[in-house]
Amino acid sequence: MSFYEVYLQFKDFDFEGFFASVDDKDIEQVLGRDDLDPLDFLTLLAPQAAKHLEAMAQKAHRLTIQHFGKVILLYTPMYLSSYCSNQCIYCSFNAGNHLPRKKLTLDEVVEEARAIAATGLRHILILTGESRRMSPVSYLADCTRVLLEYFSSVSIEVYPLETKEYETLIAAGVDGLTIYQEVYDRKTYDRLHLSGPKKDYRYRLDAPERGCRAGMREVNIGALLGLEPNWRREAFFTGMHAHYLQNKYLETEIAVSLPRLRPVREDSTSYTLLSDLDVVQNLLALRLFLPRCGITISTRERASLRDNLIGLGVTKMSAGTTTEVGGHSQGEHGHGQFEIFDRRGVPEIKAAITRKGYQPVFKNWHPLPRSAG
């Protein structure tokens, strides 16, 4: 059994017909229920549910406080390498783009780590483009060992790996895996990923499950919303994927990110972009469907919206972000993976969270000697 079977089960489902049949009474009924099933979740993703956002928000707010408290965990991404053999039309690191490519040496990783650790952050997410030659598993393991001198939690957001490779990285000290499917609709996926290993839809789709099997403490999935015109369907598959993983791998903490597509300048495709209202509806529906699931909001969203999303279900936020290799210690040169909309540093984001009556948390894991676990 793989999530692919769940995908197949719903692939030809009449989403539009279902949405058209949803009325206010259906939504009110779902809001009165404690345990939501997949169709309840889909009901909350219907256009009609946008009229019930305040009621959804009240419940999402209550559930999030109950399960997580008024607490937001902060982290920041560190880009290790921008070499990438994929051609994903929506990404700046697309192999077809001329970009001064860069990969950090271990000494440079230390420099970056020092700069970030000085801001107080203890959770770090390391990223690379997909190049097994330039950023092999052994390099990721070396970087992790170096980073554990400065951080208490190291997560990876890299190309999909084999279960054994995830195990190798866990042994080196990695405790979290972030991997976005980007697009669940298989046809759209194929259209947007022109070439490279990422064309293999199934291999990527099953990567979160391999991470769970390998023993990752946290697995964070997501779709880049806006790539596929029907974001509601994509949001549904994302929630279903998280639901599938959580039920099958009880010991893994499953989290979902809600990144919204912001077209890069090299990409002339016209997309159906999500409104703020869409982002909020998606967040609330997900929280009501999966009350204990971690939810991450990145700096692709502007500061004012991010501040307003605190309290609606978000549990984790990035701060002091750069999407450029070496961007924390060597300055930025306009070669990031995507544009940052919330450019605030850690102290400002910390202050904003505190102003909302929430506790910014820097540390939520303590690394154990490798003999344990």
């Binding site: 406080i65 109950q66 399960h67 997580f68 408290g69 008024k70 607490v71 000085a118 801001t119 107080g120 203890r122 208490s152 403490r217 959580q246 039920n247 009880l250 010991e251 893994t252 903490e253 499953i254 204990r292 505190t354 009556g357 929430y358 506790q359 948390v361 820097f362 540390k363 939520n364 894991w365 303590h366 154990l368 000697p369 003999s371 344990a372 676990g373």
Partner: protein, 263 residues
């Protein structure tokens, strides 16, 4: 005679233990402890930033040294991880009390009793004062007693659920059969439920979510302090017998006395 609870050789006059997760602001913790009257405070090692850039970021700086620190192993998924976490906490100067929390179910956050027994066994041998968090089960509690637990902490309902004493009947059996202090941990959502646990004869209760997520955590902590004292006093006072139904007459045996007055 003073009513004290003795755990790990320490005499406790307060039977309310406080958890420190989920607070909107770490600065509230010292006032919460003060107002609640608690003496035992649990902190997740995973949340302690020993080398925080700013002093106030280290949660330990919000807990006065007069409190008994009980690090917990939140995040442990098996006995080996719980054991390592406990050892690190002791090495780091957090003392030798530990609350074992082994959870390999991120959906309902239910404890793994078997791994908890194993962690308790190892840590008790290493001289820790071990308070294991478990699903209430008599055989498990007996084994915990055998391997050296200092108390047994059954859940009243799943962590953070605020559903109250859903496992009341099982807890009642533990109180009856186990010679260790029984401390209800998790599930207590209101002071009245804390009082109920104490009236039943629980030795103490541990409260976190209900205080941390209250509108006014400090006032709620004080309310819990009162409730625990009230419940304890009621238990000591010995509540009057409560009958299931009123029984002014004796419908089944009354015939024996019929006509007695006329004879």
């Amino acid at each position: 005679m003073a009513d004290v609870l003795v755990i790990g050789g320490r005499k406790l006059s307060s039977r309310l233990f406080i958890g420190t997760g989920k607070f909107p602001d770490k600065k509230l913790i010292s006032a919460v402890l003060e107002k609640s009257g608690a003496e035992v405070v649990t902190v997740a090692l995973r949340r302690i930033d020993f080398n925080a850039e700013e002093e106030e970021e280290n949660i330990l700086n919000h807990i006065d040294e007069r409190y008994i620190l009980m690090p917990n192993t939140s995040g442990a998924r098996n006995a080996a991880e719980a054991i390592e976490i406990a050892r690190i906490a002791r090495e780091a100067g957090c003392g030798n009390w530990v609350k074992i929390e082994v959870i390999s179910d991120q959906k309902y956050l239910l404890p793994d009793n078997q791994e908890t027994i194993e962690a308790t066994r190892v840590l008790a041998q290493e001289g820790f004062v071990v308070l294991p968090y478990v699903s209430p089960d008599l055989m498990v509690a007996k084994k915990l007693q055998d391997v050296g637990a200092a108390a047994v902490m059954p859940l009243g309902a799943p962590i953070g659920s605020n559903r109250g004493l859903r496992t009341k009947e099982m807890i009642r059996i533990l109180i009856d059969q186990i010679d260790l202090p029984i401390i209800v941990d998790a599930g207590i959502g209101r002071p009245s439920e804390a009082a109920e646990a104490m009236e039943m004869g629980c030795a103490a209760v541990l409260v976190n979510t209900a205080i941390a997520t209250a509108g006014d955590p400090v006032a709620m902590a004080e309310a819990f302090g009162w409730a625990v004292r009230a419940g304890r006093q009621a238990f000591l006072a010995g509540p009057g017998r409560v009958l299931e139904e009123a029984s002014a007459s004796s419908p089944l045996t009354g015939f024996l006395f019929e006509g007695a007055g006329s004879r």
